[in-house]
């Protein structure tokens, strides 16, 4: 009997040419989905809506300004949320019981009440404090608490409560050995947090923060209730005059989808960046994924080979 290793070296292995498993389910479901989409198309084209006017409103000045303000309040609100949220997370993990209770109480209140109520509370603050007196600064509350500031406070402070929990999870995900190593080198708690723990927590914090961003983009539509000139207020203002309610809601829908799509793509690449070095293989970009999915139809071999 010959040695198996020797044998393998002499005879090169023949490549397997197997007939791939047929995925009939994919064809059936594709046909079904196309049929449903066609039905939806037919229904919408016969609906009592003037589709031709929708593109006209898309770049209406009021609508564009509204979309710009939606973007602005989202970015600023998120900024407040991230900075304050990180601070709250560090406070929550503090050994000082007063500080950690304050952080707990903050999260309890702002996570426990609806954003709409919070926005209304800020906007109507002048009802109970007609005068703002900060000692060095004095003014009528109504002049200070503009729709913009009320929106920023409402969205930002509410977001901070959620970001605090996200950051806390990130901080706690960092191995305790890292803190010990930093302490053993003579670093104090604050410096260890800043230089060692937070940079490593980022990988866990970034993905849910992207989600929060997109959530905020949509939640900001609530600010129309307190007269902030964002996208939702722009379209309701117009439709209250010309009564083209559905047409303008379609305009808002399209704009929100455009904004969230742009940010989803951005989020994907930011996450991909933070995974470098830690994940064994970077995830496919949408283009690579689409190409691979199309291949499954032409070749029949599924994406099953690659989990």
């Amino acid at each position: 009997m010959s040695d198996p290793v020797d044998n393998a070296a002499k005879v090169p292995p023949e490549a397997i040419k197997a007939i791939p498993v047929r995925h009939y389910g994919r064809w059936v479901s594709a046909v079904l989905v196309l049929a449903l989409l066609a039905l939806l198309g037919v229904a919408l084209s016969g609906a009592q809506i003037q589709w031709s006017t929708v593109p006209d409103y898309l770049d209406y000045e009021t609508v564009l300004r509204g979309a710009g303000n939606t973007l602005l309040i989202t970015v600023l609100g998120m900024l407040v949320g991230v900075v304050l949220g990180t601070l709250l997370a560090v406070m929550r993990l503090s050994k000082n019981p007063v500080v950690s209770s304050v952080a707990w109480g903050y999260v309890w209140f702002f996570r426990g009440t609806p954003v709409l109520v919070q926005l209304m509370l800020w906007y109507n603050l002048a009802l109970i404090f007609p005068l703002l007196d900060l000692g060095f600064y004095k003014d009528e509350m109504n002049d200070v608490m503009t729709p913009f500031l009320a929106s920023l406070l409402g969205l930002g402070l509410n977001e901070a409560a959620y970001m605090a929990e996200i950051s806390r999870a990130g901080i706690q995900s960092v191995d305790e050995g890292q803190t010990e190593a930093a302490h053993a080198l003579g670093m104090t708690g604050g410096r260890t947090m800043r230089r060692i723990v937070l940079p490593q927590a980022m990988r866990v914090i970034v993905p849910p923060t992207g989600n929060e961003f997109i959530n905020m983009l949509k939640t900001s539509s609530l600010c129309f209730a307190i007269q902030f000139d964002e996208l939702m207020k722009a379209v309701t203002d117009i439709s209250s005059r010309n009564l083209a309610v559905m047409e303008l809601l379609m305009v808002a829908t399209i704009w929100y989808l455009v904004l969230t799509t742009v940010f989803s793509v951005g989020q994907f690449y930011v996450e991909r960046y933070f995974q470098r070095g830690s994940a064994r293989a970077l995830p496919d970009t949408p283009l690579q994924k689409a190409r691979r999915n199309l291949m499954t139809f032409s070749h029949g071999t599924g994406s099953g080979a690659k989990p």
Partner: protein, 250 residues
Amino acid sequence: MVRAEGVHKSFGAAHVLKGIDLEVAPGEVFCLVGPSGSGKSTFLRCINHLEKISAGRLWVDGRLVGYRQKGDKIYELKEREVAAQRRDIGMVFQRFNLFPHMTALENVLEAPMQVKGETKAVAGERARRLLDRVGLGDRGDHYPARLSGGQQQRVAIARALAMEPQLMLFDEPTSALDPELVGEVLDVMRGLAEEGMTMIVVTHEMGFAREAGDSLVFMDDGAVVESGHPREVLSHPRHERTKSFLSKVL
């Protein structure tokens, strides 16, 4: 250099250290051996106050660790003061604990620049020298994930040495390494010992203890069972417990 008198440590109901007395002289290589769970790592961690002792006294360089005594009252040190004490004590961990978001060189630079406020020029010069010394002069720009276990542990030693410590603590520095990588780390440690660094080493490497060690303590169940010169204890153990342990590891 290090003196312990009746050191006790409890974690809740678990009594981990039950009265440790020992003394480590300057320049000495002091080996702590014993079965896992015997409290040797805990004792090591008490020396730089990563663990608080529950009773007894522990001095490093004549100063109480983590406390200050005035009359018969004992005061806890502030965080800043504890950090200052730790600057002079280097520590090497079983699992390396390198900072994964920094390159090897940045790992070594971090503490001198952040804690001592050294300039990049001063700290960088020393860091490169230390990396050279542990045989990794060409790996300064590598992230820890791209280094082998042995290389990571050598960077960790360089990182601890960058603070120019008076005392080095090694907590099973080779236990997480593949057998073939153990040698390169022990070589670096032997070099340090020859230069007269005071070292306390928790280890299962009896060969290292025998060659490089000046004293050896065998611990079991939170207490010192026997101590003496490594060759003496390892070759002629007096206690049954030591004999049975050594018969399993040698």
